[in-house]
Amino acid sequence: MKIKYFFYVMLFLAVFGDWIANEKPFYCKFQGKNYYPVIESPLVKLGWKEWPAAFQNATWLELDLEKKVNTLVPYSPETIDRNNLGLKSPFDKQNINSLWERHWMGTDRIGRDVLSGWIRGCRMAVSVGFLSVLIAGIMGIFWGGIAGYFGNERFKLSLFKAGVLLIWIIGMFFWISLGFETNWNSRSVFYWQIIWVIGGVCTLFLPSWGSHRIAIPVDGVISLVIQAIDAIPALFFLLALLPLIKNPGLFDVVILIAIIRWTNIARLVRAEFLSIRDLEYIQAAKLLKLNHFNICWKHILPNAMGSLWITFAYSFAGAILLEAYLGYLGIGMPSGTISWGSQMQQVRENPSAWWLAVFPGAAIFLSLFSLQKMGEKLEAKSF
């Protein structure tokens, strides 16, 4: 069996997790009417449909349904099974009615099903990994591309325009921060911001006074920022930035991981752009008067993409590991969040509950391994 299939399984569980592990049944008959709760519940959440009142007052386990077809795992990650409180091991005698309701991976201290949480963990890992790689990829390709394409010499401006640009950037920072300070409800600040933007656009069309053109060291500045971010180890950076956010959620963690990870991608993109920008076909494209954006987007980037996929795979793995660390240390995510890391965290309080360590840990291992294997395959293919 190939290890990369685990990654596909993980993707599948991330998307269809709710259809596999859910306390709501797939189909049920209640007071003579048919319901499909798993499929209908998103509609209810959106407000397009309503449950009968009896559904809202009781939990799904207690409801007296005439007929029902459960999902494969009849528990949601948050469901508390009061009959199986306090760390039931997978091999323990469990207080259940049928084999269908068995907790195949045991329960945790407050009676939540571990298997169901494990499936939710897939979603957490995939969404953190995917979103952070997406954001880091956009940031890395943008900044790394600019640094590599222009370098230190090729972005030239007249002295006047360079000065205007500098003042404009500082001013924009100022106006935006003032906007936050006034809660965006001061009319004159809004007018100033519009004046600033329009003025900035207008200067683009100004004639460049003075024949002296200076090269803006774009590469130098971006490399400096990359160097500064790289000087702090990833976990430390994350821990140093997290307290800045009052009640961090999933998306905040994703953004922070992206802020840490984009430098890796940017460095690679910069190196690729540096080596590709002087190739003959790029010079041909320049002779055809294509603009810079088209050259970068349509001619350089597709050529650089081959080695980028490798970094994406490794970054995905790194993001999953960082998220697991955070969950394990109990920092960053809201306290109710269920992920592989937070499941493993419970082992620290109950060291005898091996099933809380083994299953999520194995999932982290397999996901990292499969991603690394995929990265290695891609590497072998491209070189």
Partner: protein, 468 residues
């Protein structure tokens, strides 16, 4: 070559400086109210009192902590703000005064409003009629915490018997409020103005202190951060040093061996296994080992989870070297296997890469073979990329074992970091992060120098780059 190095080092120092600014601002924004935190333990700190009285007590404490100085060398603020706005310390006062200023744009008038308010409060406190005094105290608190001019005005409008004793003050306040309500900031006054404060600012003071090795005191237990770090660092150095050392000792011969034996199904499986080892998360293995160590009946005879204090008090390695190393063996093992697997794979691939080079072919055709070929021609070139790792090894000596330390309860740097984070001891956290980034920069400089010294090609291209 020298200019290349100087250029590198200066950019590194520049990036360190940027990091220090970022960390300073993070500390300022994250820390919460330092005055409140610092005075929590002491009896004469500002407890919750009337906001108009608290400001005075608060600013005394703030001046003691050097918070009355500007934050940075300069600031860019709207011309609305006076250049001494930073002197206001009390958070409530800052909020209300800023709100009023943004509404009216007239700083002298806002100031005189607050002077009148404070004067009013002092007279209220001194008055003998207790029910009147209590009523006005509450009213003034509401007024002092509000920045809505209309609401303030309506709050000043009270029944006649309550009004009478303080008629003069209320009239004065109403006059100022009337003037304030007519003011509004002019369009031009929003334009930024640069204030230059010079060296006498908080960042400069903090930076000079850090440079001279004074990291401040921990807000958790009042101890010097420096002492705490000094106490924790030997443990971390032991764990990481042993792990990195063993990993290198294992991976070099192993990697070379793997590169030299002929390729077969067996080597493929070993490589597969090495990749799996590298992907195996160390904190998982650590918690499984810990489960084994703490479960009754099983357990490791040489390891005890609470054994660290024993070695801390009894001298550790010097007195009981063998049992000390055995105690360290579990965490060190958890940290070693992944690194060793990675380095083995790396060493193997770089060795193989060098073996394919034309100059090795040339050496072979000249008749050099066997041991001499590998030691003289292959090994130095295969080791060259390893120099880059030196940049990573130096910070890793201090930071590599955060999660492992937390799991095994080792009183090292990682646990210090996590504990300080959880107890909101930001002085420790951020000085630690700064320390680590300095170490990283040091590692980068060192690896750069070594690379330039050891590889003539890099030396040449560095010189060539300068010329172009």
């Amino acid at each position: 070559m020298l200019t290349y190095l100087i250029k590198r080092i200066s950019t590194l120092i520049l990036s360190l400086w940027i990091i220090s600014i970022c960390l300073f601002y993070l500390q300022k924004n994250v820390a919460g109210d330092i005055v409140m935190l610092q005075s929590k333990g002491r009896s004469n700190g500002p407890f919750y009192v009337h906001p108009l009285a608290a400001e005075k007590v608060y600013s005394v404490e703030a001046i003691r902590l050097n918070l009355h100085k500007p934050l940075f060398y300069f600031s860019l603020k709207s011309a609305l703000f006076p250049d001494t706005f930073y002197r206001i310390q009390y958070p409530e006062a800052i909020k209300i005064k800023k709100d009023l200023l943004l509404q009216t744009g007239n700083w002298p008038l806002v100031q005189s409003y607050f002077q009148a308010l404070t004067k009013f409060y002092e007279i209220v406190v001194k008055s003998e009629n207790s029910s009147l005094s209590i009523f006005w105290r509450e009213r003034l608190e509401e007024i002092a915490l509000s920045s809505d001019l209309v609401a303030i005005k309506s709050k000043l409008r009270v029944s006649k018997e309550m009004n009478e004793p303080f008629e003069v003050e209320i009239k004065e306040m109403n006059g100022i409020l009337f003037q304030l309500s007519k003011c509004s900031p002019s369009f031009l006054s929003w334009f930024p103005r640069l204030h230059i404060y010079g060296l006498d600012n908080q960042y400069h003071k903090w930076f000079v202190k850090i440079i001279s090795g004074d990291f401040g005191t921990s807000s958790r237990d009042g101890r010097l951060v420096k002492d705490k770090i000094q106490e924790a660092i030997p443990w971390t150095l032991w764990v990481n040093g042993l792990a990195i050392g063993i990993a290198y000792l294992f991976s070099f011969p192993m990697g070379i061996f793997m590169a030299l034996i002929p390729k077969s199904a067996w080597t493929k499986w070993v490589n597969h296994f090495l990749l799996a080892l590298y992907a195996l998360p160390s904190f998982w293995i650590a918690s499984l080992l810990l489960f084994q160590a703490t479960s009754p009946g099983a357990g490791f005879p040489f390891f005890s989870i609470s054994g660290w204090t024993f070695y801390q008090q009894n001298g550790g390695f010097i007195n009981q070297p063998i049992s000390f190393l055995l105690q360290l063996s579990l965490p060190v093992f958890c940290m070693t296997y992944g690194l060793a697997a990675y380095l083995t794979g790396y060493m193997q691939s770089s060795f193989l890469k060098v073996l394919k080079e034309p100059y090795i072919m040339y050496a072979r055709t000249k008749g050099i073979s066997g041991f001499r070929l590998y030691v003289r021609h292959v090994l130095p070139n295969a080791l060259l990329p390893q120099i880059v790792f030196i940049a990573g090894v130096i910070p890793a000596l201090v930071t590599g074992s955060v999660v492992i330390e937390v799991i095994f309860n080792i009183p090292g740097m990682g646990r210090l970091l996590i504990d300080s984070m959880l107890s909101q001891d930001w002085a420790t956290v951020y000085s630690f992060v700064l320390l680590v980034s300095c170490l990283t920069a040091l590692g980068l400089i060192l690896s750069d120098i070594l690379l330039v010294l050891s590889d003539p090609r890099i030396r040449f291209s560095a010189t060539k780059n300068e010329a172009s």
